[in-house]
């Protein structure tokens, strides 16, 4: 009789262990990016297995998530900010956080006698003050990846408020 109860316990134990293993086996395998990942690169490469959908939101409750179908080499372009993300398959993954740091990258090149090309190589819209000597002569906005021309000899670029 004791042996029967022992076998009862053993079977229940093995069943529970097997269920735990299965839950672990089907849970999405989230490889990268790591939790609390910080970068100033707007293109983020996600590496996820055993999941169908990637959800990204700026709040932990995922009230208005962006959804992406998961595939190999999934690269997503995100604006600067803090994001929460998780993968969803048969089960959901842990929630991870990533931060895209805002990045000002101002480049100028000579176009003509007094004219310069002003390029925004960063990931935020730029507000560029153009000076001639100490006098403020122009204010230009330059979108990400774009070039505008301006006349001056000093260029001060910062993140645009809008």
């Amino acid at each position: 009789m004791d042996n029967v109860y022992k076998f009862d316990m053993m079977l229940v134990g093995i069943t529970l262990l097997a269920l735990l293993f299965l839950v672990g086996y089907v849970r999405p395998l989230v490889i990268s990016p790591l939790n609390d990942y910080e970068t100033s690169d707007s293109e983020i490469l996600f590496s996820i297995e055993k999941a169908d959908t990637l959800l990204i939101d700026d709040n932990y409750d995922f009230t208005t998530p962006r959804e992406y179908n998961i595939r190999e080499g999934l690269e997503i372009s995100l604006e600067p900010g803090e994001y929460y993300w998780k993968a969803v398959g048969i089960l959901g993954s842990e929630i991870r956080m990533l931060t895209i740091k805002s990045n000002v990258d101002l480049r100028i090149r000579k176009l003509g006698e007094d004219s310069f090309g002003v390029v925004n190589g960063g990931n935020v819209r730029l507000n560029v003050d153009v000076y001639n000597g100490t006098e403020l002569v122009d204010k230009i906005k330059v979108d990400v990846g774009e070039e505008n021309s301006a006349n001056g000899d000093k260029f001060v670029g910062g993140m645009d408020d809008e």
Binding site: F7, T64, I90, N103, R107, I108, G158
Partner: protein, 395 residues
């Protein structure tokens, strides 16, 4: 956009340039009386050259950023260099936003030949300090996401609790108006609480059982001690052009093929100056051909044939990936297809259904099968033991 940026940076590589960067572009913090904090930032040596920089603080909060003004050197081998500054806030400040700019200015180098362009570049890293309003105070924005007829229009109220105390009750009353300014629906959202200094969202899915067109959501956000009026325009029925069919008559490899692309305007208003761009790539992702149609106007809810010409000289028989992009206004509707090219025929694969990645689906389905088999197996073993074998052993 990225290609444009790479092109521009490429142009820079062969031009006389000044380049300077800083990250983060902005640091934000909540006010605390007498707070002292060290703020870090990184100066990026985008031009990869030896340079001298000078740091200085300007703006309203500059007086609380002591001894910022200093010079530093960055070597061409350093891609970036970290710096910090201290900010010592006073005991009391007016409610709202207070800012300062930390300027990083590249000092003009000594004259060194033709590359000298005699200009100065400076970049700015900003600091934003938010001082809470007395009592309870909310800032809010309304976002409305367009939807097709019969689907849900998502209305999102983003609420920031900018006061000293938590907001315990935030909700909204919303009226929906059509283009004739007639009220067609009214509803209340659920209620949420938002802790001081945090952001909360109220999401309401409004069923768009209305005709295609433009609508206006006029909302009153009601929080503990005040109200905020918000408005947002949205559309029902997407302003969308859809590629329906591509037909090619008399195709002969090596000659110019005429592709007739049938496009439907699913919007209730005409769309003008639309054109189709087709990019064809081989297995390795290398570009094979790229061609564009002329510009066309399409009437509301009508169909139009766009004609494109593909010069197939030098193209070999085989299967190619084709990205067909309908460009209109500031939008692009893209479709990924396959062109199966033979000597006397061109077959377009992928229109009318979604080409899915069979490998991905296989993985998902495989997991479900493994899970089901394992659970069924465990259930059977338990049933077998507890209902059958155990009783026999007891006897």
């Amino acid at each position: 956009m990225n290609k444009l940026l790479i092109l521009l940076i490429g142009i820079f590589m062969i031009s006389s340039v000044y380049a300077l960067g800083v990250t983060p572009a902005r640091t934000t913090m909540d006010f605390e009386p007498g707070l002292s904090r060290q703020v870090g930032f990184e100066v990026i040596n985008s031009g990869e050259q030896d340079m001298k920089i000078v740091l200085s603080a300007q703006g309203e909060l500059a007086e609380y950023i002591p001894s910022t003004t200093r010079e530093a050197e960055i070597l061409s081998t350093e891609k970036s260099k970290s710096f910090t500054y201290d900010i010592n806030l006073p005991a009391d400040m007016e409610p709202g936003l207070h800012t300062a700019d930390v300027h990083i200015m590249q000092l003009p180098s000594d004259y060194s030949g033709e590359s000298q362009i005699l200009a100065t570049v400076a970049v700015v890293t900003q600091i934003y300090v938010y001082v809470p309003y007395p009592g309870k105070y909310a800032n809010a924005k309304l976002f409305a996401y367009n939807a097709n007829q019969g689907e849900d229009v998502k209305l999102v109220f983003s609420v920031i609790s900018a006061g000293e105390f938590d907001l315990t009750s935030v909700r909204a009353n919303v009226d929906i108006y059509n283009k004739l300014n007639e009220k067609i629906d009214s509803f209340n959202t659920k209620e949420i609480a938002v802790a001081s200094g945090t952001k909360g969202e109220i999401v309401y899915n409004w069923k768009a059982d209305v005709s295609i067109g433009e609508y206006r959501a006029a909302a009153v956000l009601i929080y503990d001690e005040g109200t905020i009026n918000l408005e947002e325009i949205f559309t029902v029925g997407s302003k969308e052009l859809e590629l329906q069919e591509i037909s090619v008559n008399g195709f002969s490899l090596g000659e110019i093929a005429k592709l007739e692309m049938l496009v439907e305007n699913k919007w209730s208003e005409p769309i003008s100056d639309a054109h189709i761009e087709t990019k064809i790539t081989n297995d390795e992702g290398d570009s094979v051909s790229s061609f564009e149609s002329a510009n066309y106007d399409i009437g509301a809810l009508e169909k139009q044939v766009f004609v494109s010409y593909w010069d197939t000289a030098g193209v070999r028989a085989g299967t190619y990936d084709a990205e067909v992009s309908i460009n209109y206004a500031d939008k692009a509707s893209k479709k990924n297809l396959q062109f199966q090219v033979e000597k006397n025929s061109l077959t377009v694969v992928g229109l009318g259904y979604v080409i899915s990645n069979a490998d991905d689906e296989g993985e998902g389905n495989g997991l479900v099968v493994v899970l089901i088999i394992a659970i069924v197996f465990l259930v059977l073993i338990n049933l077998l033991w507890f209902l059958l074998l155990r009783k026999r052993l007891k006897k």
